[in-house]
C-alpha cells in the first residue's frame, strides 16, 4: 500500500482525508477549487426519508476558534439525493460515504434501505445531531438505543455502517462498545458539542434554534481525548474529526487512534484545506518519523 493509503471496511482510501458531513454538501461547490478525485473519500450531507427545510435562521454563529451551527438537517430527502446529487460524484475517483439521519428508528431503517439503490461505499449513521427537536441526539446518548438503531440499520444496509458518536455524553466508551456489539463496522467521531451563544442586543440565543453544535479547533482536545479512550476499548476502526485544519492535526488524530480523518469547519475558512492537507501529509509524516499513515495509527498510546 502507498504511504497515504488506508483500507477500511468498504473503503479503499488512497489517503485518509475526507470532508466531514454537512460541511461539503454533495461536493459540487468545492469542485470549483480542486479536483475531488484527490480526496480519500467524501462524507456527504445527511439524508432523511423526506425533504426537510431545517431550522429558521440564523443557523450559524462564530465562537472563539470555533462555530455553532443549527442547520437542522435541511436536505431534499434520500430519493432526491440519490437521483439528483450523488450522480455528480460519480465522475470522481472516490468512495462516497452517505450520512443517514432520522427521527425514528424506522426512518433510519428506511433511509438505509433506499440507499441500497445507490453507488455509495459506506453509511455514516448519524445518531448524534444536536440540532433537531426530535431524533438525532437522543439516539446517541443511550447505549441501548444506540445499539438498537445500529442493528436495524446494519440489517437494512448493503454497505458497511460507521456509527457517528455524540461527544455530549458522560461515557463515550460505553456507547462505542454498545454499537460495536450491535455490529457497527466502524465509528466516526466526534460530532459537535452542544453549545449556545446569546445575542446581547436581542437578549435571546443568537441561533433561532437556541442551542447549536460547536465545531472547529476549539473542540479538538475533546475529540482527541474521546478517540484515545475509545481506541483502547474497541476493535473497529475510527474515522476521527473535530477541529482539524492542517496535517499536524491529522497526525495527532492518527496517533490518538483514528484510521482516517474528516475535516469540517476548516473548509469554510479555507476551501482548499483538504487538498492542502493531502499535499502536506507525506512531509509531516516523515518529519515525525513515520513511513506511512498506517504506521502512525494508534502510536500516541503510551504502550503502543
Amino acid at each position: 500500500m502507498s504511504m497515504l493509503g488506508v483500507s477500511l471496511p468498504g473503503l479503499a482510501l488512497k489517503n485518509p482525508i475526507m470532508p466531514a458531513s454537512g460541511c461539503f454538501s454533495f461536493g459540487k461547490e468545492y469542485s470549483q477549487f480542486y479536483d475531488l478525485s484527490k480526496l480519500g473519500s467524501v462524507m456527504v450531507k445527511a439524508a432523511t426519508l423526506n425533504k426537510r427545510l431545517g431550522n429558521d435562521t440564523p443557523r450559524v454563529a462564530e465562537t472563539k476558534s470555533g462555530m455553532l451551527n443549527a442547520i437542522g438537517l435541511q436536505n431534499p430527502g434520500v430519493e432526491a439525493i440519490i437521483t439528483d446529487e450523488l450522480p455528480f460524484l460519480e465522475q470522481f475517483d472516490l468512495p462516497v460515504i452517505a450520512n443517514v439521519a432520522g427521527s425514528t428508528i424506522e426512518e433510519y431503517e428506511a433511509v438505509a434501505s433506499h440507499l441500497r439503490n445507490s453507488n455509495i461505499a459506506a453509511i455514516e449513521l448519524n445518531i448524534s445531531c444536536p440540532n433537531v427537536k426530535e431524533g438525532g441526539v437522543q439516539f446517541g446518548t443511550d447505549p441501548n438505543v444506540a445499539a438498537e438503531v445500529t442493528r436495524r440499520v446494519k440489517a437494512a444496509a448493503s454497505v458497511p455502517v460507521y456509527v457517528k458518536l455524540s461527544p455530549n455524553v458522560t461515557d463515550i466508551v460505553e456507547i462505542a462498545q454498545a454499537v460495536e456489539a450491535a455490529g457497527a463496522d466502524g465509528l466516526t467521531m466526534i460530532n459537535t458539542l452542544t453549545g449556545m451563544k446569546i445575542d446581547l442586543n436581542k437578549r435571546r440565543p443568537l441561533l433561532s434554534n437556541g442551542v447549536g453544535g460547536l465545531s472547529g479547533p476549539a473542540i479538538k482536545p475533546v475529540a482527541i481525548r474521546m478517540i484515545y479512550q475509545v481506541y483502547q476499548a474497541v476493535n473497529i476502526p475510527i474515522i476521527g474529526m473535530g477541529g482539524v485544519r492542517d496535517a499536524e492535526d491529522v497526525l495527532e488524530f492518527l496517533l490518538a487512534g483514528a484510521s482516517a480523518v474528516a475535516v469540517g469547519t476548516a473548509n469554510f475558512e479555507n476551501p482548499h484545506v483538504c487538498s492542502d492537507i493531502i499535499d502536506a501529509l507525506p512531509f509531516v509524516l516523515k518529519e515525525y518519523g513515520f513511513d506511512s499513515v498506517t504506521d502512525a495509527i494508534g502510536k500516541g498510546h503510551i504502550n503502543a
Binding site: L53, M67, E269
Partner: protein, 255 residues
C-alpha cells in the same frame, strides 16, 4: 470563484466607523464580476475567527486593477479588517453570489434604494446601468449625517436623495418617505439594506418590478453548508443567500 491572497492598496475611514478599502485584484478576476456580488473575507491568520465575513463589491477599476469595498465596523471581525494597512495581504473568496442580472432587463429609468451598508453594492450597479444608458435615481438612507458616504459618487450617476433617520442630513425619515415625498419612480428598482427597509420598499413599490439584495449569517459562502437560507414566498423551499442570492427578485423570497 477563486481563493486569492490580495494586497491592500488603501484603507480610509470615509464616514463614522465606515471603511473604504481598495484591494489589488487582477483584471482576469475583475472581468468576471457582476454588480451585486460579494467577496468572502478571512479575518486574521489564525483560528480565532473561523468564519469569513461577506462584504459586497462596491466598485472596481479594470485599469488600476483594484476592487473597492466599503464596510462598517460592526463587531470584532470588521474591527480587525479595519486595522489592515496598505501592502498587507487579505484573503478573499471572489466573486461570490449571483449579482443583479441587468443584461436581461429592459428599462429606461430605475431606482437604486440603499440603506446603510446596503449602499455600497448599488454603486457599481449604478455605473453598469449608466453604461447601458439607463437613467438612474438613487435614494440612500443613513442613521445620521455622520454616517453618510458616497453622495457625490452617486450624484455622478444621476439624481441622488439622502434620508437620515434623525433628520441631520437630507430628508428626515426612511427611504420610503423620500420616495413618497418626491414621488419617485422607475421601471425597475434595485434595493439593498436591512430587512425592515427591504420589506417597506417591497410593499411600497409592489407594482414595480424589483430586485432585493439580502443579508444572512454565513458559513461557507459558496452554497455548501446551508447556513444562509431564506424561504421562498410559497414556503415550499429554501434558497441560499450566498449562492442563489444575495440578489432575489421582489416577492421571490420571504423577508
Amino acid at each position: 470563484m477563486k481563493q486569492v491572497d490580495a494586497l491592500i492598496v488603501a484603507v480610509e475611514e470615509i464616514a463614522r466607523k465606515t471603511i473604504k478599502m481598495d484591494i489589488r485584484i487582477s483584471k482576469e478576476i475583475l472581468s468576471e464580476i457582476k454588480p451585486g456580488q460579494f467577496v468572502h473575507i478571512k479575518v486574521g491568520e489564525g483560528t480565532e475567527f473561523m468564519l469569513r465575513r461577506p462584504i459586497s463589491i462596491c466598485d472596481l477599476d479594470m485599469k488600476e486593477e483594484t476592487l473597492t469595498l466599503i464596510f462598517k465596523i460592526f463587531g470584532e471581525g470588521t474591527e480587525m479588517l479595519a486595522r489592515l494597512k496598505p501592502d498587507q495581504a487579505i484573503n478573499l473568496l471572489i466573486p461570490c453570489g449571483n449579482g443583479y442580472s441587468i443584461d436581461s432587463i429592459e428599462a429606461d429609468e430605475v431606482l437604486l434604494i440603499g440603506g446603510g451598508i446596503g449602499v455600497p453594492p448599488l454603486y457599481y450597479l449604478g455605473k453598469k446601468l449608466q453604461e447601458k444608458n439607463i437613467k438612474v435615481t438613487s435614494i440612500l438612507g443613513f442613521q445620521s449625517s455622520a454616517d453618510v458616504f458616497y453622495e457625490a459618487a452617486f450624484q455622478s450617476l444621476g439624481a441622488t436623495y439622502i434620508a437620515t433617520n434623525d433628520g441631520t442630513y437630507g430628508t428626515e425619515g426612511f427611504v420610503t418617505d423620500v420616495i413618497d415625498h418626491f414621488g419617485l419612480k422607475g421601471d425597475y428598482y434595485f434595493s439593498c439594506g436591512p430587512t425592515p427597509m427591504l420589506k417597506a420598499v417591497e410593499t411600497k413599490l409592489h407594482d414595480t418590478k424589483g430586485f432585493l439584495s439580502l443579508e444572512e449569517r454565513m458559513g461557507c459562502g459558496i452554497g455548501a453548508c446551508y447556513a444562509c437560507v431564506v424561504k421562498t414566498q410559497d414556503g415550499e423551499s429554501n434558497k441560499k443567500v450566498c449562492q442563489d442570492g444575495p440578489v432575489f427578485e421582489a416577492n421571490e423570497v420571504e423577508l
